[in-house]
Structures are given as structure tokens and as C-alpha cells.
């Protein structure tokens, strides 16, 4: 069987050195670089020893998909092509992963929704594909602007789901994501989400690892299912497999199969904690008011906390990094002292607040908002205003006719 350790220290065809991932991410020198989120995706992929990237244009991930095409032209990606639609792309990703390749793709908004059927299939087939989701509006009338509603649909697919706040998160988590995803006891696809435009189209200083160092290659021999065996599930799906039989044991086998997928999500917990340094990050959890959220709503929360601090109001923060596995225990611990839990979100339904309410005791402490959607920004002042209103303090009107 293949042994990835044997390639550490050797070079690939581009002259990059296969490097132990822990050393690459934690010990290798970093170079500050001023890049957009899309450029950061490209730079992470340059170092990811990726075999196959399949692209389809949909804003706001189109730029990243095109930039990765440049990487292919430069010889850093094994294969790269455009699918006929998002559904086709995700199906082609499955084929490549079944064949034992390390696979990467990007999508957004309606593209995520169009391809949705594939995601539980990926998870059920234990394919460690990485998919970047640059979240945008999904409903009619058309919007290409930031909106995180599509994440709610991904949460029950059996995929790992992480939500990056910054381009730095993005760079690090793309590389670390493969390490979690490809563990044999996990071996699940990862949806690495960010808020479109806010992260993809703004420039930020990102500390990059050396371009001449890259991840060790994927070892398909560690997969918990055989590669591309046409006679066995999961590849053998539609030709009289057990899933199509009507008897107790067929149902029980399928039920066990589903449970095994979610068991793998649970097993990812220990690896995710190791690589992301915890499923959440916290500040001032002894405060009576705590903001709990993910993605760029965390950044807005940080600014709101600074504004509140100027007024002598102490407020804590919980940044949720992983949504699947869900950090229930961590959130319960971090919010145990809070009287008010504020959950700002960039979507209309408030799925994050619902998840938190289902997690903690005394869920009436959760204030599901403020929420914006459809591309609206979330000024920190509206978070401040909601918190002050909750505390019974006077606050200025943020919208109106200026009277």
C-alpha cells in the first residue's frame, strides 16, 4: 500500500517539496501578501497537490475558478476542465474522487442549489472532495450579492461544513481541510464556505506559506471504501443494489450506511480541533452579553464590541469555525455565563440562531438578530443598537428620514 510519508522531502514536477503538513502550516516561514480572496484560493491550491479541479462560472467564485485554470496552465494541477453545469461539475468531481484523485471545485448560490443532489451522494460515497462555497443570494429575483442562506441547505448533507471569516482563514483552511477530510476515519467532502464578495473580492494581507512547499499527495489506499469498484456500493448505485430491494435487511443496511456517514462527521471533531485549534474561538466569555456567529458577521461583531467598549459596555464573542461537526459542547461552555446571546446573520431565516437555540439551555437568552440579506451590509452600529435595546438602554435610530 502507498505510504505518503515516503514522499516527504522529495520534489514534485514543479520543484515543490512535499512537506509534512503540520510543519508546513505551523513552522514554515510566512510571507505577508496583499491579495483578494479569489487570489488566495489560487495560492492555496498552488500548494495543495491537487489532482483535479473542475470549474463552472458563477459569481462570485468565477474569478477563483479562472485563476485556478492559470495554475493548470503552469502545471500545478493535474487536470482542469469546465463542466456543462454545476450539477455536471459535482458529478464529475465524484468520478474523479472515486478514481482516487484529490479533487477541488468552487461554486456559489444557485450553483450550490443546482448541484445539491450530489452532496449527500459525495458524503454517502465517502469522497473527500473539497468545495469552496462563496455564498450569495439564491432566490428570485436574482441577486449575486452576499447572503449565507445556502449554508443552511448544506448542513444536513453529511458534508463537513466550515465557515471562514477572512482570507487568511481561507488560505489556511483549504490546506488543513484536506488533512481532516482525507483521514480514513473521516473521509468526507468538505464545504468550505465564505461570504461572497466580502471575502472573495476584497484585498487583505494574508500570510502565505512558501510557494516551493506543498502538501503530501492524497493516498487513496487509506480510503474506507474501495476505489471505483463498479460491482460494489457506493459506485453500484442504480443496478439492483441493496438500496433498491424491499426487505428489512436492505433498509437496515441503508440506515446503517447513513449512520456511518454521520459517525464519520463526529470522528472529524478530533481532527478539526487539532487543525483549526478548536471548533470555536472565544473572547470575554465572562461577559453578560455575547455575540455568537460565523463568517464575516464575526468581523462586524468585533467592531461592534469595540464600539460598545468605548461606551463602557463589555461584550464577549464566539466565532464558530466549524458548523459540521457542530461545536455544541463548546458553545454551551462559552455561553454558560451569558444573559444575552446575540446572533447576527447574513440571511433571512436565521439558521444559525436556530442551531444555537437547539444547543444551549435557557434558549430564550438567544436574540436571533440583527439579520440582513440580499447583499445588504451589516453596519456594526446595528449590532450595537440591538444590544443596547436588549439592555434597556437608549439608542439612536439607524434608519428613517433623518428626523
Amino acid at each position: 500500500m502507498a505510504d505518503t510519508h515516503s514522499v516527504i522531502g522529495t520534489k514534485n514536477k514543479k520543484g515543490q517539496t512535499f512537506t509534512d503538513t503540520w510543519k508546513l502550516m505551523n513552522e514554515a516561514p510566512r510571507t505577508p501578501s496583499f491579495f483578494t480572496g479569489s487570489e488566495v484560493i489560487k495560492e492555496a491550491l498552488r500548494r495543495a497537490s491537487c489532482d483535479v479541479m473542475i470549474a463552472y462560472p458563477i459569481t462570485p467564485q468565477s474569478e477563483a475558478a479562472a485563476l485556478i485554470g492559470e495554475l493548470f496552465a503552469e502545471g500545478y494541477i493535474g487536470d482542469y476542465f469546465r463542466g456543462e453545469s454545476e450539477f455536471a461539475v459535482m458529478s464529475q468531481c465524484a468520478g474523479a474522487a472515486f478514481g482516487g484523485a484529490r479533487v477541488f471545485t468552487t461554486t456559489a448560490g444557485p450553483g450550490t442549489m443546482r448541484a445539491m443532489e450530489n452532496f449527500p451522494m459525495w458524503a454517502g460515497a465517502r469522497l473527500p472532495i473539497q468545495m469552496i462555497v462563496t455564498c450569495r443570494g439564491i432566490n428570485s429575483p436574482l441577486s449575486i450579492q452576499p447572503d449565507t442562506l445556502e449554508i443552511a441547505y448544506l448542513l444536513n448533507t453529511g458534508m463537513l461544513v466550515w465557515h471562514a471569516e477572512t482570507a487568511q482563514d481561507f488560505f489556511d483552511w483549504i490546506l488543513k481541510g484536506y488533512m481532516v477530510s482525507e483521514e480514513p476515519d473521516v473521509h468526507l467532502p468538505l464545504a468550505l464556505c465564505c461570504d461572497g464578495f466580502f471575502v472573495t473580492h476584497t484585498k487583505d494581507v494574508v500570510n502565505l506559506t512558501p510557494a516551493d512547499m506543498c502538501l503530501p499527495p492524497y493516498d487513496p489506499y487509506r480510503s474506507p471504501v474501495p476505489c471505483m469498484d463498479m460491482e460494489c456500493p457506493p459506485v453500484r448505485m442504480m443496478r439492483d443494489p441493496f438500496v433498491m430491494k424491499s426487505n428489512y435487511i436492505s433498509y437496515a443496511t441503508h440506515a446503517s450506511w447513513q449512520q456511518e456517514v454521520w459517525a464519520a462527521v463526529e470522528r472529524s471533531r478530533k481532527h478539526t480541533i487539532k487543525w483549526l485549534n478548536g471548533l470555536i474561538e472565544t473572547e470575554n466569555t465572562d461577559a453578560e452579553v455575547i455575540i455568537v456567529t460565523s463568517g464575516t458577521a464575526v468581523s462586524q461583531g468585533r467592531e461592534a464590541i469595540r464600539l460598545l467598549d468605548d461606551e463602557g459596555i463589555r461584550c464577549g464573542l464566539v466565532k464558530i469555525k466549524a458548523l459540521r461537526p457542530w461545536p455544541g459542547e463548546e458553545i454551551r461552555e462559552a455561553t454558560k455565563n451569558a444573559k444575552h446571546i446575540i446572533v447576527p446573520e447574513f440571511n433571512v431565516t436565521g439558521w444559525m440562531a436556530k442551531e444555537i437555540k437547539a444547543t444551549i439551555p435557557n434558549s430564550e437568552r438567544v436574540h436571533a438578530g440583527p439579520r440582513v440579506c440580499g447583499g445588504m451590509t451589516m453596519p456594526p452600529e446595528i449590532i450595537v443598537s440591538e444590544i443596547k435595546t436588549l439592555l434597556g438602554m437608549r439608542t439612536m435610530s439607524l434608519a428613517g428620514r433623518g428626523s
Partner: protein, 211 residues
Amino acid sequence: MTQYRVLPGPEHFLPPSAASMGIYLPNPGEAHINGVIVPEEKAYEEAAKQFLMAKVPTLFPGPLVLWAWNEKAAKKATAIRHLYNTLKECVQPGQTPMLIPMPDYRPKYPKINPEVEINPNHPNLTIWHNKIDCCMFIGVHCHQANLSLKIIRGGTSCYTIAMCAQAGHEDAMLSFRDASVEKIMNLADAVKRLKGTVNPRLTSAKSGASN
């Protein structure tokens, strides 16, 4: 800390996966017994004890160690044969060690022949037919092993052991990780060491009843 323990069944109409009940896999150098992390040495003793107590101790080698598809697989297969021969040498009259392969994972209809193979989609048929009360999976892909182990726990009283080449199996009652020829031989040595010190059970596994 979870109170859940991975014990011989029959556990439930649809038992939960052990991972969903808070059972964690062992780290390198460790194993688990009933979901509790233990040093690997302790697991050798316990696995050997379970084999020697069983009326029908059985090894289930899977595709990763069958077919001599590479040198490492062939060496492991030889070690498994050695473990099987050791079991035969060390059990007492009335005990019947078996070696039944899981050659592949294909769904087979109308059903498999439980005398000659075990299948991950209905492993309970082989357990029931042969009255197997202790078994060890080795060389089975992790996903398929977990399916089988959970179905066995759900519907039979068989004690399950996993000798996993990767991270281990929390759905088995006892699991090793990072399986190697050396570890298989260590288990055979433990069986030899405990020969004659363990009283075999008088009954065997059957559907719907515990031992």
C-alpha cells in the same frame, strides 16, 4: 464523558453508531475495549480471552488481506492463517474456530451462502448460521467494517473485535488500530499465553438472545 458502552447485543431495532454516542477512537499505541480507551497490551489479553471463551471464535479476513494483491497483503494473510492455526491449537474440545472470508462487498441475491462467506450488507446471516459468538474483522475496508459491526451489534449477541489497519472501529466491542503483521502475531502469542487459563462458554450466539 459518555456513559455509553459498546457491548454485545442484540442492542436495538436500529442501534446508534457508537461515534454518535460519544465514543472516540484510540490514538496510536492504544486500543479500545467496550468504548473505553486502553493500552494496546491490555487489548491483546482481552481479545485472546474472548477468543478462548468463545464456542465458535471466528476470523473474518476481508479483501484488503485476501487475493495477495501486494506483498504486504500476502504477509498479513499468512499471519492471519497463523492466528487461525493458533486458535485451533489452543481451544478445548467443543470449541470450533472458523476462518470465513468477506471476499467482496457485492450485494448478493437471493442471499449469500453463510457457510462460506460473510457479506457486509447482512453479516448477521453468517453469524446466526454458524452460531458464531466471537469474531474478528481484519482487512475489511473501514466503511464496510463499520456497517457490519453495527448490524451485528444490533441483531446478534456476538462479541466483535476489529484489527483495523487505519484508525480503528468504535462499533466493535474491542478494536486495535494500525494493524500490522507484528500485531497479528502479538495476538496469536497472547492466545498461546492464555491457553488453558480461560473457561470456554457453554452456549453460542443466536438471534435475539444474549449469552
